[in-house]
């Protein structure tokens, strides 16, 4: 973990209620896809944890939805604004588990970390062996479809209202796919649906309300299948399917 000052390079609406923020600063602490950052916002006591969508040297892309007062404020931040950010938080996905043809499943605001994971995987696997399933409520919410397609991977889309791609949920696509491992991030109902039909082992990236984001406050503890507890912010947010206790 590192405390860094980042400068906003751009902050734009890319889909319904969905924003892409590009920040300039030291990204050296972000070493695995699936890690997150925790952003200090003026006027708010707690930081905002946001998963990292993409990094290049000195450049970080975040995609966030305006869902509350904090993220609403974020939408109004102008390029040039400096933000105090704790970077390199959480464990991230384990690429070594992928097998030779994994599937990446992202739902709504859970899609951004799938992008950096996808980029990392195509450096070790050929793109045509990677399947990506993206789930949205409706066509207006779709983002990063082109970006995933540009990576050369096999991208499928499901929308709940059928306005684009398969009508239904990510599991309506997933059920017909062949894969060696799955990686996923998204809402809890989607996790439960995946858990019910998944054919292989996989990794889930969880979300929880956090006090600190670096393991100090015990605000985001999760009881695991073996009776131990893990902190979503520190040992997580990514957990292996087998260690999760589904309640």
């Amino acid at each position: 973990m590192k405390e860094e000052i980042f400068k906003i390079n751009s902050n734009v609406l890319i889909a319904e209620n969905t924003y892409e923020m590009e920040l300039l600063g030291d990204t050296s602490e972000i070493v695995r896809p699936g890690q997150f950052v925790n952003i200090k916002l003026d006027g708010f006591f707690l930081r905002r944890p946001i998963s990292v969508c993409d990094t290049e040297e000195g450049r970080m892309t975040l995609i966030y939805k305006a869902v509350g007062e904090g993220t609403e404020l974020m939408t109004k931040l102008a390029p040039g604004t400096r933000l105090n950010i704790l970077t390199g938080l959480g464990n991230g996905f384990d690429l070594s588990l992928s097998g030779d043809h994994p599937v990446l499943i992202g739902g709504g605001a859970g899609i951004p970390p799938m992008y950096s994971l996808c980029k990392a995987l195509i450096s070790v696997l050929s793109p045509e062996n990677i399947k990506v399933v993206l789930g949205f409520n409706t066509e207006e919410e779709i983002f990063y479809l082109r970006e995933f397609q540009d990576l050369g991977v096999d991208v499928r889309v499901a929308t709940a209202d059928g306005s684009y791609g398969t009508k239904g949920f990510v599991t309506d696509v997933l059920k017909d796919l062949d894969y060696t491992f799955f990686y996923t991030c998204g809402p809890m109902p989607m996790f439960r649906a995946i858990e019910a039909i998944a054919k292989t082992s996989g990794q889930y990236s969880f979300e929880e309300r956090m006090g600190c984001g670096f393991g100090a406050c015990m605000g985001c503890s999760m009881m695991m299948a073996d009776g131990s507890y893990k902190r979503v912010c520190k040992e997580g947010p990514v957990f292996r399917r087998e260690e999760i206790l589904w309640k």
Binding site: R209, G215, C217, M218, Y229
Partner: protein, 343 residues
């Protein structure tokens, strides 16, 4: 010109030169390099912070509230935000006293080389006593901080801190077995905190910590349900500083025990304000969570801010004297020190 404690060279107009700043305070027979103490529950067992900075710069820290049995704590969400603060309902998650003694303390020895404050909690008088007993004989522990004020557990915790008779009972039971000074941690969720303070003093407490969190809640407008799964939680953060200051001041003028003042402290100025209210040492809580370097920054600022140091030095000189403040003299002294602070 005269040279006073800490290498400060002072004239009649206040400090004019600082040589080696001495920020040390005496807490129940142990000298702290500075009065800054990360508060229990915001610093774990030190592990999350030791990789960020050398935590030996701290006065000490109070480790995560420890109970006789391991506890997972409350369901999530455990955290809610407030203006200038937060609410938590962690519920004393901890690995239990045996694991703390046999695993956490030996691990801590590798990176923290000062006496640590052992924060303990319980659900019955004998549980408090047993937990403290199991931590006796540990050289690393400098003090026991006994939490009779946790708002997040049922059938215990705060119940002991809101009833003077119970507070006294817990104090007596712990004092019977403790091999280190006993500091009782008080709840602000009472009509008159001085009643509880007096009961602890009567029970033989060596010192007092105050305040723990204020009981609070938030409601999510979308779901129309409490944000926190446990409905209510402990409100902390800079918003509560005025309440904490008031209570430290009241208790200071009521009992003859050293006080660790805490509640909303997030800057060196806040630390000094707490000491002006009567605190011997000062806890830093929620600030560690929103800024992991908060305690380090506060200590750094106290060691370099010359004007702050003038005030601080005056406080230390006062604590050296055997004379206790009365309410009226406290106001007078506060006034005179404040003038120097402003100059």
């Amino acid at each position: 010109m005269e040279i006073v404690k800490g290498g400060m060279v002072c004239g009649p107009e206040g400090c004019v030169l600082k040589t080696e700043p001495d920020t040390s305070v005496d807490l129940l027979g142990i000298e702290l390099d500075n009065p800054v103490i990360p508060a229990s529950g915001t610093f774990g067992f030190g592990k999350e912070f030791k990789d960020l900075y050398d935590i030996n710069i701290l006065g000490t820290f109070s480790f995560k509230g420890t109970t006789l049995e391991p506890r997972f704590g409350n369901p999530t969400p455990r955290i809610a935000e407030t203006p200038n603060g937060m609410i938590n309902a962690v519920g004393l998650q901890n690995p239990g006293v045996i694991a703390v003694r046999d695993r956490e303390l030996p691990e801590m020895k590798e990176f923290f080389h000062k006496p640590v404050m052992a924060n303990v909690s319980g659900f019955a008088v004998d549980e408090y006593q047993k937990t403290v007993e199991l931590l006796c004989g540990q050289d690393q522990i400098g003090w026991f901080e006994v939490n009779i004020s946790c708002p997040n557990v049922h059938g215990g915790g705060m119940a002991f801190g809101t009833d003077p008779a119970m507070a006294q009972k817990v104090t007596e039971a712990v004092k019977k077995v403790a091999d280190k000074p006993v500091i009782m941690k008080l709840s602000p969720n009472v009509t008159d905190i001085t009643e509880i303070a007096k009961a602890c003093e009567a029970g033989g407490a060596d010192g007092l910590s105050l305040i723990n969190t204020l009981l609070g809640m938030r409601i999510d407008l979308k779901t129309k349900k409490p944000v926190i799964a446990n409905t209510m939680g402990g409100f902390s953060g800079s918003a509560i500083l005025p309440v904490a200051l008031r209570m430290v001041y009241q208790v200071y003028n009521t009992v003859n025990l050293p006080i660790i003042g805490m509640g909303g402290v997030s800057s060196a100025k806040d630390v000094i304000e707490m000491m002006l209210a009567g605190a011997t040492a000062v806890g830093v809580g929620a600030a560690n969570l929103t800024d992991p370097f908060a305690s380090k920054k506060i200590i750094g600022f106290m060691a370099t801010g010359r004007q702050n140091m003038c005030v601080f030095q005056a406080l230390l000189d006062r604590s050296d004297s055997s004379e206790r403040f009365t309410e009226s003299s406290a106001v007078r002294a506060t006034g005179s020190v404040s003038l120097r602070w402003a100059s």
